[in-house]
Symmetry: C2
């Protein structure tokens, strides 16, 4: 399968910079062009060698590219698609790294000219960091990359994109667009919303000083603050664009939380014990699947001696 | 301040074993005795050298001790207090490592004979692991240890316990019992309940396969499963024994979550953006306070190359 010769990265944050570094690590000699809204970001990306050339506009950045990856918040993709459409090369693949896929297909799809392959994709990897200096070559190693081909997607173009992401370290799977959004709502979007909420509650408690929240934050809460430190624009766009699935999962969440709340109120220890035992088993499955380490507290609570 | 000469550990799980290892690391030459409900645990603790002697009963283990630390679930402390009471030495300090403090004071206090100092304490440290082999000497390093003296607690005895925990690596602070329970509900207990709930929801979604939940679990959800993997008995007891504070925080949580849910439903992106920006600031404060590392994904998403 032939490699891409010219990859254009639209947006130069954590994911784009990691793609560039992983491409280099994989020995790909593709030309990499890029653009970002902020001049600082463009300058930094060029200085760091993440791109061979930066451009002020996406229209310029995509010229001659055979792979364009939209690495911007989902809410910005429609406008960019419209801007780049006349400048895309025949046979070019347009993909993205957005956390929702139905909305991307709907926002970008109508702008795509004939002969251009739109193939949405979602790397299940990330950190709470943003910006071109936050990337690293191993971000995608052993992480899932979900490609959600559209009914009209060319098989050959999908396979080519699959090979690209595999070379970057990902485990690639294909999934239907709508199903992707439900899965993502369950394992990523709703957990993020809940973490944001919990951190907001802690911040708003009058009877607990902010210094107490900050100083005494133990394992549970620290994880929440890390999740809740992710890019606000990105997450706003996720929720605006995965509304139905998120609301469905939130509905179930509220129902279950109220059941646990009731168990606390009435002192039903058996209900809690059974619930907590069941969830513990899921953790075991995730460790067995190699998606996380068994190391106590991931080394965080265990500083060097 | 004189060190303790004989420390009795009642319960030999993660915290007790870490106390023993941290005592040895600190060069304390105190005799350490212990007991646990299960013979396996007792045998393992002895084999690992965590205790100088194990006993079948708490009554035997505490004999001659000048510090007794209850390292069992909060729900078990009352019965143990009753059992050990006649065997406690004059001037002995009885403390604990429970996550709630009002309930401990109420369950243990009435059994304490005159001349014994009951001083509840709570190390803000832990992992999701259980058992005597899960401990490590640095668990308490740079972590907070909240001592919640009772109105009748002897100042000298409190200072002595404070020195003990400081030597084990903790940053010790004093706090009122009731306030402790509210702070703990905010930064630890409610986040745990929410994590349990989210993992339970994911497990119960019919339209999402369990393998999908397990395989694709990304950063957000993985943190939740880790939290939700903690000891079910311990957490059941926490919620049964910190009911009022947990319900108060849960009430606020539900309120805020519904506000965010409404913002998603009506598409109020500004509300979400402002909310997510505010919570991000809290994360920054926690990193500045040295309670967590800034390292991307805590090294988890960044395997060795």
């Amino acid at each position: 399968m032939s490699q891409y010769k010219h990859v254009a990265l639209i947006g130069l944050g954590l994911l784009a910079s990691s793609i560039s570094l992983a491409m280099r690590r994989a020995g790909m000699d593709a030309r990499i062009t890029g653009t970002a809204r902020s001049k600082d970001t463009r300058d930094t990306a060029l200085e760091l060698g993440l791109v061979d050339a930066v451009f002020d506009t996406a229209a310029e950045a995509v010229q001659g590219a055979d792979l364009v990856i939209l690495c911007v918040p989902v809410g910005a993709m429609g406008v960019i698609a419209e801007e780049i459409a006349p400048h895309l090369s025949e046979g070019c693949t347009v993909s993205d790294v957005g956390s929702v896929k139905q909305a991307v297909a709907e926002a970008v799809g109508p702008h795509m000219p004939d002969g251009v392959h739109l193939i949405p994709a979602h790397p299940m990897a990330g950190t709470e960091k943003s910006g071109p200096e936050s990337g690293f070559a191993s971000l995608f190693d052993n992480r899932w990359l979900l490609i959600t081909p559209l009914p009209e997607s060319s098989h050959t173009a999908v396979e080519r994109l699959k090979d690209f992401w595999t070379a970057l370290g990902s485990n690639v799977e294909l999934m239907e667009v709508e199903h992707h959004d439900l899965v993502a709502a369950v394992i990523s979007h709703t957990p993020h919303l809940i973490a944001y909420t919990m951190v907001g509650v802690a911040d708003g408690m009058n009877r607990v000083a902010k210094t107490e929240v900050v100083n005494y934050s133990a394992a549970g809460f620290r994880d929440f603050t890390r999740i809740a430190a992710s890019d606000p624009t990105m997450w706003r766009d996720v929720f605006l664009n995965n509304k139905d699935a998120t609301l469905e999962v939130l509905g179930r969440f509220t129902e279950e939380l109220l059941a646990l709340q009731r168990a606390i109120r009435v002192g039903d220890g058996d209900f809690m014990f059974d619930y907590f035992t069941r969830t513990r088993d899921i953790r075991r499955s995730i460790i067995d699947a190699g998606q996380d380490t068994e190391a106590a507290d991931f080394g965080r609570g265990k500083p060097e001696k």
